[in-house]
């Protein structure tokens, strides 16, 4: 690079502008592709945008920390967006109330299925203990998963990565699973994807309908709460079961 370009690069890589713009441009491009693909689940915008940003980081030799310093302004909006989920929840309140019993039963069974099957499949295929403990809370929102994994002997960073992959997998797979199971009710579709795939599943659900989004948000919140309370009790018992 010429001295002037190097100077420019040094300036830009220290300012939040680059990371922030990169995030927004990648999202616009990913969303354009998603739309062009007729909102096909395989063209998931979170996955596409992450792939684009990661490619730019690798090519430009920018490290993730530097990128995140800029992109954190977008990341910060996750907080108010989570609070804003109260509005679609309120709009769906009559239907939520009417389904309260079935929702609670499905919550408990679904939550246990998510954690136990992740642990069980991983254990049978020989995953290490820290990996198993990082896998178990993978279906819940990232801050809860990291907080739950750590005292159990998991790695918070690996748990965060597992959460991300679970979100994208659920958002991609759920539409196919629902077609196969012939489940058309948006309340049921939303609840199951929110329970298994937290916020990324909820984002997909909101792209389908407000009702699906509201039920996904409810499932995400409740499964986060239930997992945070139950996993510290269940895991030691599971470890004994698998002789670890």
């Amino acid at each position: 690079m010429t001295p002037r370009l190097t100077e420019l690069w040094v300036y830009l890589s220290a300012s939040p502008l680059l990371g922030l713009t990169l995030t927004l441009v990648a999202y616009q491009a990913a969303f354009w592709l998603y739309k062009r693909a007729g909102f096909h689940p395989l063209a998931n915008p979170v996955m596409l945008a992450i792939a684009m940003v990661a490619t730019v980081l690798a090519l430009s030799d920018m490290d993730y920390r530097t990128y995140f310093d800029g992109a954190q302004f977008v990341h910060f909006l996750l907080g108010p967006a989570t609070v804003a989920l109260a509005i679609p929840l309120y709009a769906q309140w009559p239907k939520l109330k009417a389904m309260a019993g079935p929702l609670m039963i499905a919550l408990v069974i679904g939550s246990l299925t998510a954690a136990l099957s992740a642990y069980g499949i991983g254990a049978l295929l020989g995953a290490s203990q820290p990996s198993l403990m990082s896998l178990a809370p993978k279906s819940v929102t990232m801050p809860i998963a990291m907080a739950v994994a750590e005292p159990l002997g998991g790695l918070p960073a690996l748990a965060a990565a597992m959460v991300m992959l679970t979100g994208v997998l659920g958002a991609i797979g759920a539409p196919y699973l629902y077609r196969w199971l012939r489940i058309g009710d948006h309340a049921i579709r939303g609840f199951a994807i929110g329970l298994a795939s937290h916020g990324i599943g909820t984002a997909r659900a909101f792209q389908v309908s407000e009702q699906a989004g509201a039920f996904a948000a409810l499932a995400m919140g409740l499964n986060g709460l239930l997992t945070a309370l139950s996993l510290p009790w269940i895991m030691p018992w599971l470890e004994r079961l698998f002789g670890r």
Partner: protein
Amino acid sequence: MIAALTLLLVFQLAGEVIARGLGLPVPGPVIGMALLFLALLLRGGPSDNLRQTAGNLLQHLSLLFIPAGTGIVLYGELIAAEWLPLAAALVGSTFLAIVVTALVLNALVKRRKADEGAQP
């Protein structure tokens, strides 16, 4: 929009204070969501302004996961070391959780409808 954003941040802050103050295992924004939901029940619904801002924010929820999601680049080696059990557990368990939750809920909802239909 600014008024609505302020309101959301105030509820997030309140949630954060409660979560940390009481040492709850749930993140502050989730408590904030519950508080705002209660406020909406008491008040009888959101203002148009709040509804619009929330709608805009939630429509682009995907965007908000990109910065944290890109963090996956840091764990490539960790994941590569045990890629097979991790991949099988992620795919198997995520799909199983969706299928089981949807089937249980579907069966319960159907049974309830049948019960209601059976009553005169």
